[in-house]
């Protein structure tokens, strides 16, 4: 197993408030990890810190991604190195249509990797099967990014971007929130298509129901800034029944 991501004893704070308090996690290529936990446990902070969002201070610990110190890099460099964050609340960018946005992003990444950029025609060919996979059409690409999108459309759009950018490590922050069953199935289809050798997915979720569609290899429970329990997918079912309240810090991360 090739190790992709290794987080050791990570401490992170926003302003004066410590949110991650010694989090450790290893992710190997080919794996799908689910991170569950109550509100305020630090799930979204973990995703933001890994993606390089400004405003977080790392006070202790390390994050290694494919042999490099990830914390050294700016957000865009991390993206170019293959880290994708599917946002819980994707932000609107008025006046910029989705097609232009996605092509600009794709070309920025291709350029950084020394690959040739795609022109408008090549891009349309490139995006076609990804649109089909997610039951979307080219009309969708003409709309300004996230402006007036329904909850389901936003998440499908995030999934489309993931499929197009084809990251090595996808961090999906509450991708299931606000989705009805149909949309959940479509989004899951996209995520499952991403699974593969050399790649990994970290799903951050509140509910077990997403895991009915995307089967994780590992489930971790995040509470008060630490991973307090790890197991296989049965842990998720257990959590659904018992809730988080009974759990205490009984294991360190796998």
């Amino acid at each position: 197993m090739t190790e992709l991501l290794n987080i050791e004893n990570l401490h992170a704070r926003v302003e004066e408030k410590e949110i991650l308090k010694g989090l450790s996690l290893k992710v190997n290529a080919g794996e799908v990890h689910a991170i569950m936990g109550p509100n305020g446990s630090g799930k979204s902070t973990l995703a933001s810190v890994l993606a390089g969002k400004p405003g977080y201070e790392i006070t202790e610990g390390s994050v290694n991604f494919q042999g490099e110190d990830l914390l050294e890099f700016e957000a865009e460099e991390r993206a170019q190195k293959g880290i994708f964050l599917g946002f819980q609340y994707p932000v609107e960018i008025p006046g910029v249509n989705s097609m232009y946005f996605l092509r600009t992003a794709l070309n920025a990444q291709r350029k950084a990797r020394g690959e040739e950029e795609l022109d408008g025609f090549d891009f349309m060919d490139f995006i076609q099967d990804k649109l089909e996979l997610l039951d979307m059409n080219t009309e969708f690409l003409k709309r300004p990014v996230n402006v007036g999108f329904s909850g389901g459309e936003k998440k499908r759009h995030e999934t489309l971007q993931m499929c197009a950018l084809n990251p090595t490590l996808a961090l999906l922050d509450e991708t299931d929130s606000g989705l009805d069953i149909d949309a959940l199935q479509i989004v899951s289809r996209g995520v499952n298509a991403m699974r593969g050798e050399g790649k990994a997915i970290v799903l951050i979720t509140h509910y077990q129901r997403l895991l009915d569609y995307i089967e994780p290899d590992f489930v971790h429970v995040l509470k008060d800034g630490q991973i307090i329990k790890s197991g296989d997918k049965t842990l998720a079912t257990e959590l659904e029944k018992e809730g988080y309240s009974g759990l205490t810090n009984e294991t360190t991360a796998a």
């Binding site: 993206a79 994708f84 964050l85 609107e92 960018i93 992003a105 950018l165």
Partner: protein, 498 residues
């Protein structure tokens, strides 16, 4: 003319800094080593006479200038705009500076001083007709009048346009060659005493473009004037007059740049447009004068009067401006809607960064029946800059069923800049239908992070977001210039985040 005989010594340092580039963000900041012919510094009747003589003007034109000069002497500089700058010493400016090689106006492009052509090449302005005609890659279907300090140095495609009856030439030539047309229209849209800067321009204007589109002709090319200020301590006073006769159409674009210098330079232009029955004039500006450095040192003072009259029924005048340069901008391209069913449009993107100040907007004067106007203004402020939209919608009593739609959006970057909206509405007819919308927003950290997470650099992210904000205006630009203008928006804001 005794003053003409004694040419002053040109400023000693107008030839140093050859092609030096001081600031990466303003790539047009180089100055060029061109031998210049100056009129003495300062402003008086002799200077006005000298300029007129240099241009070989007829007596009526000189009288017109002198009249304007006398009006100007009795006027005071306006101070109502939200702009602050030290007093301008109008006697410490050169009002005329021309490349020596232009003394005898070249008859064709082949005769133009290669040094001058090299300057335009460096600016990316194609003055080579052959290449354009031969379809050389990177050239576009645009006829260009190139104005260097006080004179037009080259005008391309004049002959081709003349075949269709289109006149496109420097205004100094038009005064000599088409005096009847010039006399008929000059000063009819912007009268000599209109305002302090317009009066100054009337007295000392040096060059600019003249366009006449005959009845029923749709001008086959984009017409463009490119203004370059090069000489030190020199003001540029451009004068442009465009007349579109019945049922004609023209799209015109102006661009401008200036070297990077520590002192401020004055640019006071007047542009007049006349659209006859069913005619349409589309006037686009990409204004990129040197804006000064990040501490507000240097930069162009840009005091401009632009106005068009929709004289005929169903005529249309459309102003589109992308304003990114100048230390100070004072500019209100306006439309007088005289003809019934005539249409006025104003689309503006104004960017201010560092210490720049812009007070810009429009006036839509509705006189005819069923006239309509649209104003879309997008202000983007960054650094410590101030950006003001100032606009007037005036409905005259006789303007039945006039309509106006105004939208003013401001985008702020950082917390040290200012955005201001000052709309004036005077409605003297109850049938008017007026709408006004205004928004103010900030580029959010969330938007920036979203773009960066997808792999865009911080600067590309800003550029993307800003171009999205300005899209409604940018898409009004002629295709040939849209891409360049998009890049310019991004470049103007470089270093404004982080």
């Amino acid at each position: 003319m005794n003053t003409a005989a004694k040419m002053p010594t040109p400023p000693a340092d107008n030839v140093i800094n050859k092609d030096t580039q001081l600031d990466k963000t303003y790539k047009y900041g180089f100055s060029s080593d061109i031998e210049m012919d100056y009129a003495p510094k300062g402003l008086n009747e002799d200077i006005v006479r000298l300029i007129s003589e240099k241009k070989g003007e007829p007596e009526w034109m000189l009288e017109w200038r002198l009249n304007a000069f006398r009006i100007w002497q009795n006027m005071v500089e306006p101070n109502w705009a939200k702009l602050g700058y030290p007093p301008i010493d109008y006697n410490d400016i050169y009002y005329y500076a021309a490349p020596k090689s232009q003394k005898e106006k070249p008859k064709s492009l082949d005769e133009v001083d290669p040094e001058l052509l090299a300057v335009y090449e460096k600016l990316g302005i194609p003055l080579k007709e052959q290449e354009v005609l031969a379809g050389v890659e990177g050239t576009s279907n645009v006829a260009i009048d190139a104005v260097f300090d006080s004179v037009s140095v080259a005008t391309t495609f004049k002959d081709k346009l003349a075949e269709m009856g289109v006149i496109f030439c420097p205004i100094s030539e038009a005064i000599r060659d088409y005096p009847e047309l010039v006399k008929k229209y000059l000063g009819t849209v912007v009268p000599q005493g209109d305002n302090f800067f317009a009066a100054l321009n009337c007295a000392v204007f040096t060059d600019g473009s003249f366009v006449y589109i005959p009845k029923g002709v749709r001008c086959p090319m984009e017409l463009s004037t490119y203004f370059r200020i090069n000489a030190r301590d020199t003001g540029q006073f451009e004068r442009t007059l465009i007349i579109a006769d019945d049922d004609s159409y023209v799209s015109y674009l102006e661009g401008c740049t200036a070297p990077q210098r520590d002192e401020n330079q004055l640019h006071a232009a007047v542009v007049e447009l006349v659209a006859m029955k069913n005619a349409e004039i589309k006037y686009s500006t990409v204004q990129n004068w040197y804006p000064g450095d990040e501490n507000g040192k240097g930069g162009i003072y840009n005091f401009v009067t632009k106005r068009g009259t929709c004289k005929g029924e169903r005529s249309k005048i459309s102003w589109t401006q992308v304003e990114t340069g100048s230390a100070v901008t004072w500019k209100y391209p306006s439309c007088i809607l005289e003809g019934d069913y005539s249409v006025g449009e104003f689309y503006s993107v104004a960017v201010t960064n560092n210490c720049q100040q812009a007070d810009t907007g429009t006036k839509m004067i509705h006189k005819g029946k069923n006239t309509s106007s649209t104003i879309i203004s997008k202000g983007i402020s960054a650094g410590r800059s101030n950006n003001t939209y100032r606009g007037l919608v005036h409905i005259f009593p006789e303007a039945e069923n006039a309509r106006n739609y105004t939208e003013c959006d401001s985008l702020l970057m950082g917390n040290k800049c200012g955005a201001h909206t000052v709309p004036y509405i005077r409605a003297h007819n109850n049938t008017a239908n007026l709408e006004h919308e205004a928004t103010t927003s900030k580029i959010s950290d969330e938007q920036l992070f979203y773009c960066r997470q997808r792999g865009l650099s911080e600067e590309d992210s800003v550029s993307l977001i800003v171009n999205g904000f300005a899209k409604d205006v940018m898409q009004q630009l002629p295709m040939e210039f849209a891409v360049e203008a998009q890049k310019l928006l991004g470049i103007s804001l470089e270093g404004s985040v982080g």
